[in-house]
Amino acid sequence: MFSLVAFIPRAVQQGVPLLLGSTGETITEKSGNLNLGIPGVMYVGGISGVIGSFFYEQSVPSGNLNGFLAILIPLLCALTGSLLMGLLYCFLTVSLRANQNVTGLAMTTFGIGFGNFFGGSLIKLAGADVPSISLSATSAYFSKTLPFASSTGWFGKVFFSYGFLAYVAIIIAVICAYVLRKTRVGLHLRAVGEDPAAADAAGIDVKKYKYVSTCLGCMIAGLGGLYYVMDYACGVWSNDAFGDRGWLAIALVIFTIWKPDVGIFSSILFGGLYILYLYLPSGTHTEYKELYKMIPYIVTLVVLVFTSMRNKKEDQPPKSLGTNYFREER
């Protein structure tokens, strides 16, 4: 039987990495950078967290983890890893003015390779004496639900039963939406993405905005990778398990028409669509499930085509998206 109370938490858990990824990509795209390296960044974020917590768990006797450090170390590692990826992207596209599509794809190749390589070889490289990477102790801290989750019935299950990163994701999305819409920084950022030459002439440091927003975007997206391994996957890294969520996060940006607050609901919707195949009736025909898995992509495509048909000025991608800016270009 289909139970909404059981379905929503699963959809949310699927949605959180997408939300973090798409929030990160949104603020990146708002600066005019189309970062197709986000899938790679999310892998790097995830594996960096894994590496950090792996060494921390190895260094202390089992069961003696300090809860604070167990969260802080992977968190910092994930942020640093994805920040470095962001810096690399900015250095190539902003400072060296390389083609954004090609740079992004190369970063995705690199990032996924990086994640799978360390995921597969970490134990050998570290010479550790464990059969597989399973960071269940760390994961326990990450997936700790709010205290009143179990005592408040269905309400608690739907709203309180998530690890802290899920709430962080929502807070980040709300903050991003607020900053973009209501503050001067947001105004400037939108200007940079729309028309860098105009923003430049108005005295905005275009390079700085592109660097900062892209790096922050990557760090947020990296958290999505971290959430996935530590909370959703219970601390178990398996290669390629993260799958195509990174691409889905990029698709989600279009779906939300570049609005992080809309992203909160649409990512949960997408999370739901992503696992909908588990709930749709297929009888003995398990193959239908594969068709159901198409739904999020088809929905995105339809939204994409629909917004381009409607051609409303406010719903369009940032005008300079995908192009680099050089002030003295003639």
Binding site: R184, D195, A198, A199, G203, I204, E314
Partner: protein, 507 residues
């Protein structure tokens, strides 16, 4: 010489782009509380020089001294901090933002639109602007956008304003309004530099005038102490007599008949409204009007590049057969055997492909012909390229050079050379001499006259009324998409044209 305080002093400014020297060792002073006209032909380096003050470009060499102190302007922000604001010819506004958001863009502090709007209103009242602060830029007319740009500069408290060809897009009334505002700002003690190449404006607004030629500073003088002839001679570098040949038309016969043509653009704005006229063989029909009054759309419509709402465009063959061009694509038109050539205003964005070499650009018109259905024929275009280069004295390293690397005049020669090589029956030209030096301009006039003598019907869209009056047999005047009259080029003067350009449909 007046002894006034100096606001800006430029010393030995040099700027190059690749092999092109845009400014060479320029020295220029701007005094406090004056309006200085910066005069020069297109490509003389006026805009580049001012862009260095605005922080868009950084000089290769030289010093900028602002209010007695040497300044380094690395970015527009540095320029603002020094009280310099520039209104660019191509407005630097964000389309999807409203006026207030554009005006406060780039400033510090907490975002408070209410406060900002109050301050904007104060500025508007002080200098006599009108502005709708919550209107989005994409809904605005050019003059509204310009107002936003000027207020944006004033909002930052600029004492030194640079206006780059501000009147090119304005009607005479709007120009007069702008000049009033400028006089108010001058009274307020601000220094203003206005870039222009229109002598009457120099005389009506400025206190002093400085002339640039080929990137070099030529001279400066008080406006009252000079005259149009002297300024022109300085701009051009040698005494100029604007005498353009005008052979008598031989046996003019109707070639293109346009009836009740109406064109509406994507956003629903009427660009051409009920336009009717006839273009004859062996005759140059000039088209005059303030920029953006439908000249471009008229040529594009005849060339098959506009979606036409209403009307008829009829082409009359030598033997009297007629063809309806309306609703046909450029390709269908040429398939009908209608030999139509078009020299568009945007040379590298439309007429030519900048990254392709000369020979490949020659192919643009002819690539469909040739023996094979599938393969391109490369020999003929190369021959044509050689011919055009030799005949029109195009300065180029070789015919394998990408067109974008050539100077404006040479680019135009290639475009015109290609377009007339097909011996057109109809020749459409838009701003054919824009950005060209005087000698190249004369070469182009000459080529156009030759086509006329050959019997082509020439439509010549121009902005310089003096040239129109001297070159064209008849002149059609457009105002806001409507025809305000067609006059005989031999019996008119530019003042008559000027007044026709501003009266809407009264004629």
């Amino acid at each position: 010489m007046e002894n006034k305080e100096v606001a800006i002093s430029l010393r030995g400014i040099t700027k190059t782009f690749g092999d092109v020297t845009a400014n060479c060792n320029v020295n220029l002073d701007v005094h406090k509380g004056e309006i200085l006209s910066l005069l020069g032909e297109n490509g003389s380096g006026k805009t580049t020089l001012m862009n260095m003050l605005a922080g868009i470009y950084y000089p290769d060499a030289g010093q900028i001294i602002i209010n007695g102190k040497e300044a380094v302007i690395r970015s527009p922000r540095d320029a603002f901090d020094l009280g310099i604001g520039m209104v660019h010819q191509h407005f630097k506004l964000i389309d999807v933002f409203d006026a207030t958001e554009n005006i406060i863009l780039g400033l510090e502090g907490k975002l408070n639109k209410k406060e900002a709007e109050k301050k904007i209103r104060e500025i508007c009242d002080k200098y006599g602007f009108e502005i709708n602060t919550s209107k989005k830029i994409y809904d605005m007319s050019v003059s509204e956008k310009q107002t936003v740009e000027i207020v944006k500069v004033l909002y930052r408290g600029a004492d030194i304003l640079i206006l780059d060809e501000p009147t090119a897009v304005l009607t005479p009334q709007e120009t007069e309004k702008l000049f009033n505002v400028m006089r108010n700002m001058k009274k307020d003690g601000k220094s203003i530099v206005i870039i222009t190449h229109k002598l009457n404006e120099v005389q009506s607004i400025s206190d002093r005038v400085a002339v640039l030629r080929h990137g070099e500073f030529i001279s400066d003088m008080t406006t009252s102490g000079t005259n149009a002839q002297e300024m022109t001679d300085m701009m051009v570098g040698h005494p100029v007599s604007l005498n353009i040949e005008r052979p008598e038309p031989v046996d003019p016969k109707p070639r293109i008949v346009v009836e009740n043509l109406t064109v509406v653009d994507e956003e629903g704005i009427v660009k051409l409204d009920d336009v009717s006229f006839t273009a004859n063989t062996g005759e140059i029909l000039g088209i005059a009007g303030i920029s953006g009054c439908g000249q471009k759309e008229l040529l594009r419509a005849i060339a098959g590049l506009e979606i036409i709402k209403d009307g008829k465009i009829t082409y009359i063959h030598q033997d009297g057969r007629t063809e309806e061009l309306l609703g046909k694509s450029p390709r269908e038109i040429s398939d009908l055997g209608v030999k139509l050539s078009f020299v568009p205003e945007d040379r590298l964005g439309m007429g030519l492909v900048g990254n392709m070499n000369l020979a490949d650009n020659m192919m643009l018109r002819s690539y469909r012909s040739g023996k094979s259905r599938f393969f391109t024929e490369k020999k003929e275009p190369r021959k044509l390229a050689e011919k055009v280069v030799n005949k029109l004295q195009v300065a180029t390293p070789s015919i394998d050079t990408p067109v974008r690397l050539l100077s404006g005049g040479n680019v135009q020669k290639i475009l015109v050379g290609r377009e007339i090589s097909s011996r057109p029956k109809v020749l459409l030209t838009a701003y054919a001499v824009r950005g060209l030096d005087i000698s190249s301009s004369y070469q182009i006039y000459d080529l156009i006259n030759k086509q006329k003598e050959r019997g082509a019907a020439v439509l010549f869209v121009g902005e310089d009324l003096d040239v129109l009056v001297e070159l064209c047999d008849r002149i059609l005047v457009l105002c806001g998409g409507k025809v305000t009259g067609i006059v005989d080029g031999r019996n008119t003067d530019k003042y008559t044209l000027g007044s026709m350009m501003t009266q809407k449909g009264e004629a």
